[in-house]
Amino acid sequence: MREVDSETMKIVVCVKQVPDSWAEKTLRPSDNTLDRESVDAVMNELDEYAVEEALRLQEAQGGEVVVLSMGPSQATDTIRKALSMGADAGVHVVDDGLHGSDAVATSLALAKAIEAQGADLVIFGSESTDARMSVVPAMVAERLGLPQLTFSSSVAVDGGTVRTNRVTEYGYDVVEAPLPALVSVVEKINEPRYPSFKGIMAAKKKPVQTLGLADLGVAAGEVGLGAAWSVVAEAAARPPKAKGTIVADDGSGGVAIADYLSAQKFI
């Protein structure tokens, strides 16, 4: 077990820029990848919890928070947002060769970048609202040979150990691992802060390192659309919503609603 001095603990938080979840998303006709230019982009909402958790750990015991994002050039907006929330520095992995990367390739690039940083703790959100695979944290942990403590609803670091509550169907497990380790956090683990205006002003002056494939030592053939294990062959829009069911309440309305909810397995 590596001794980690909490005062110098380095936390790397991975954040992704995604299309605004309210926006209508379209695929690029040329290659059926998401058209990221035509929609408003925001920080993946679930990653805000990861940033907040990193900042809370830092506030509790010191250390450094580095925010890492892989994405096109406009992903700097998302990095800047994390910096204005309070992170100390940013790393932006950007390269045309990364366009169309699947989860496997993404985990490779991120793992290389994290390795170069030398993190004691890596924090992810539990999924991205655009791809919704939830596998990247586990893949990165495997690539780095780090213990993975996923779906955490609480995170505590004590000396060289991280302990989390892992959310399960029945409640949660308390799991523990030596640092360095990788954690993914669930929604509502905390309440992410708003960037303060002082934070926004300070973010302009914080360092952001830009890394391409060559800097990471990743070959072009290992990532991008060409290396993807699957491709989107075709896409069709969801059929418009069917008209809802109208129940005339003749005294049995409550029963009809309960029947409906139980048929949908809500109750």
């Binding site: 907006d77 800047r80 947002k81 204005s84 708003y194 960037p195 303060s196 205006f197 002082k198 934070g199 926004i200 002003m201 973010a203 302009k204």
Partner: protein, 396 residues
């Protein structure tokens, strides 16, 4: 039945003007932060506050202070020190939620804090500004009196020396934040000349009463202040400014925020009207498909867009240190009147729903009646512009 026309390809009124292309990263970050705050903390509650005529002003002040909104464009003393354009955009997003919330922020930051920052001593700044920036202390600004509104030079409140102390006597009315304030910046005459005083609201002889019966700006505290021989130490006077130009300097600051804020209120009404027109069907089609409706929407969108451009232009001038009070008057004159017009059009476009607090429109429409009047009435700004053009003052 007529085929419902497609609404595909519709763009937002802000995109119609490519407003984002005029903003720096920092401006967009500030705007997005305040917009989100407004969505999460203000919009869900504000109709209720308006209806009740009451709002959790202290709690809101602390939250706004946490963001850094209060006195955000001032330097030092715990203030964020942003540029003026950022401050304007924050006002825009707050007023899009409600003019009352923007009023709270304007009075705190641009009237009370600005007065202390610009005209206060170092001790006064140290004592009040950091707590006000955090929203722990609230300030109000007492200039208007029952018999002195557009003509503040005719004020009757006086301050007289009593040994080393000051004794203040008079009445101030229409004072925003009055009953929730910890400190009142009170303007009073000393031997005929206007001076500012910092009056802690727990001073004996100071009372604040809420003004009832308002049908506008109901999500905002408005009060009458009575100063009944309030005795203050000698250092209560703001040493850095004397004469009417001192309070007028503060008002120019707050008005600058209103130039942006009014655009926010108008944008909210326009967005409500657009959404309503697309969803509401009459005569077998969405009312958005009728030419009369489209004309209204086009006029509203252009009014909002032009107001936005004007506000950003004034913001740039202010950031370059070249904004004149006359230009601020132009901004208030144009943008508030335009916003009121947009709100009234939107009100009508929503039909019966236009008079319901279920929609933001009637709230904005009545709020804007106050905005039209305070910080210099529309008439007074007309006269300022008239004087600027002709060189002839026509106030009296």
């Amino acid at each position: 039945m007529a085929q419902a026309p497609s609404t595909g390809g519709a763009i937002s009124p802000t995109d119609l003007y490519a407003i984002d292309s005029l903003l720096a990263d920092e401006h967009r970050d500030v705007r997005d932060t305040v917009r989100r705050f407004a969505d999460e903390r203000i919009r869900p509650h504000v109709a209720g506050w308006f209806e009740a005529g009451d709002l959790p002003a202290r709690e809101l002040a602390r939250e706004l202070g946490g963001l850094g909104v209060l006195g955000m464009h001032l330097e030092g003393y715990g203030c964020a020190g942003t540029d003026a354009t950022s401050y304007g955009l924050a006002c825009l997003e707050l007023e899009a939620a409600d003019s009352g919330i923007r009023s709270l922020v304007s009075v705190q930051g641009s009237l009370a804090m600005y007065a202390i920052h610009a005209y206060g001593s170092d001790e006064q700044r140290e004592r009040w500004l950091p707590g006000m920036a955090r929203g722990e202390h609230i300030g109000c600004f007492g200039l208007t009196e029952p018999d002195a509104g557009s003509d503040p030079g005719s004020m009757r409140t006086t301050a007289v020396r009593a040994g080393g102390d000051w004794v203040l006597r008079g009445t101030k009315t229409w004072i925003t934040n009055g009953t929730v304030a910890d400190v009142a910046v009170v303007w009073a005459k000393v031997e005929g000349r206007v001076h500012g005083f910092l009056v802690p609201t727990d001073s004996p002889g100071f009372t604040a009463r809420p003004i009832p019966h308002k049908l506008s700006l109901r999500a905002s505290v408005t009060a009458e202040l009575a100063l009944d021989d309030v005795r203050l130490p000698g250092d209560a006077l703001l040493p850095g400014g004397a004469g009417l130009s001192a309070p007028l300097g503060c008002l120019a600051e707050a008005r600058y925020g209103i130039v942006f804020g009014a655009v926010g209120a108008a944008r909210e009404c326009l967005e409500a009207a657009l959404a309503y027109a697309a969803a509401r069907e009459q005569f077998g089609r969405p009312i958005a498909g009728f030419q009369l409706t489209q004309r209204k929407l086009a006029e509203m969108a252009v009014a909002v867009g032009n107001g936005h451009l004007l506000a950003l232009h004034l913001g740039r001038l202010k950031d370059a240190g070249r904004l004149t009070p006359q230009q601020v008057s132009v901004g208030k004159f144009h943008n508030v009147a335009a916003a009121l017009q947009v709100a009234r059009e939107a009100r009508a476009l929503l039909g019966g729903n236009g008079i319901s607090l279920e929609y933001p429109v009637i709230r904005h429409m009545t709020n804007l009646e106050s905005v039209f009047t305070y910080e210099g009435t529309h008439d007074i700004h007309t006269l300022v512009i008239g004087e600027a053009l002709t060189g002839i003052p026509a106030y009296r």
